[in-house]
Symmetry: C2
Subunit: 236 residues, 2 copies
């Protein structure tokens, strides 16, 4: 049934056959999550083909930039026909490791940890949140969404038991260094760090991705301030 | 007392005299929040001067990139002496509008809204959260941190009453369009959008900054997947 191809199921992938586009530049990689989001939108609209100029309008990027980006990993477009949406979505999912079935554990069952777990963020990216941990007795044993909160004492054991790939740090800044020290003794592959604290992972090969939510607030303030200053200058 | 100069107080600024570095490129602007964060760290360590090579090590950017960036807005460095930390911090705060005293209102008093309001994010950037709104009777009238939750019905009135500059959208995606429509009738200057929904602001000159938290999760998955694939290739 060809219609099935346009749903939003996460394509399964075989890691051994994972695409090897090793020359993709970091700048393109940074844009891939945006392509992922927009392609999901296109699929949701029921389209099976999309042109670079349509994507260009949606994403506010030039069509030539889009063609260039998509060429980097094989160029699945056909002049005059546009791109096969489902094929493109599958390829981008592959590139991003969306079908790998990574397993995540969240440290901190506070507001931020709960907000993340309750959002659709993980599900739609094919990441499975298998556990949360916290130090507060009051929340240990509770469920946030579908996820059980365990004791922080059992961190290493839980990483082992659930074969955790990614740990998400939403605990207070002051405790970030301790947590990352303990994680060095596990087999996890990556840390998604919301604490605002730089982690020193030494020689261990855990990849750290820092999330600084406040940075885009500052960009917004900058834009507003620039516009206000412009206004003031014009009035002079 | 000269020591006072190295504290983390937010420098007051006069919008009319706000620095006019209109040629600062978007790429540099994107990096300014990072400078802001690292300079706060340097100040916290009690240092009054910092060299481009020290900043370079901390920030994992080349020293020449740092010199180039800081030259864009005046170049406050002195060969062999490094940068005056406090001066640099003040200038960057000015550029970013940190001292402008912007006032923010948060739509949505759920986990994400609460996490944001309870964090130190706003305070350290000089943004004052004056109110939250929600549709749920159970939370209206309550306080999250120091901030009172009002009814979503009073949104426009609250924006007027509190002279709100920035509205932060943490409500469900489905309600984002309605909220942004209503905001077109207010005098707010910017929207910080966490809903994942693109907002169509039409001709009104409200600046929208979209926050896609999930994007950096995907970057992390990509890095992990690339490393795993590399490993598999090497084993062959």
């Amino acid at each position: 049934m060809s219609e099935e191809k346009t749903n939003l199921d996460i394509p399964k992938m075989d890691i051994k056959n994972a695409s090897k586009y090793e020359e993709v530049s970091p700048a393109v990689v940074k844009r891939l999550p945006r392509y992922f989001r927009y392609l999901r939108e296109v699929i949701r609209q029921g389209k099976t083909r999309v042109s670079s100029s349509e994507l260009s309008r949606m994403m506010n990027v030039t069509a030539s930039q889009i063609r260039q980006d998509l060429n980097c990993f094989g160029g699945f477009g056909q002049q005059g026909y546009g791109y096969n949406v489902n094929y493109l979505y599958t390829k981008i999912c592959e590139l991003l490791g969306v079908g790998c079935g990574f397993r995540a554990l969240v440290i901190g069952a506070g507001n931020l940890g709960s907000a993340l777990v309750r959002s659709s963020m993980f599900e739609k990216r094919g990441v499975d949140v298998v556990a949360m941990v916290d130090v507060r007795q009051a929340v240990i044993g509770k469920k946030i969404g579908d996820v059980i909160v365990y004791s922080m004492n059992d961190l290493e054991e839980l990483c082992e038991k659930f074969a955790v790939d990614i740990v998400i740090l939403t605990l207070p800044k002051e405790n970030a260094a301790d947590a990352s020290e303990r994680l060095k003794n596990t087999k996890i592959k990556g840390i998604w760090n919301f604490t605002g604290k730089e982690l020193d992972m030494g020689d261990c090969d855990i990849i750290v991705e820092n999330e600084h939510i406040g940075d885009s607030l500052m960009t917004l303030c900058y834009e507003i301030e620039s516009r206000m200053t412009d206004g003031v200058n014009k009035e002079k």
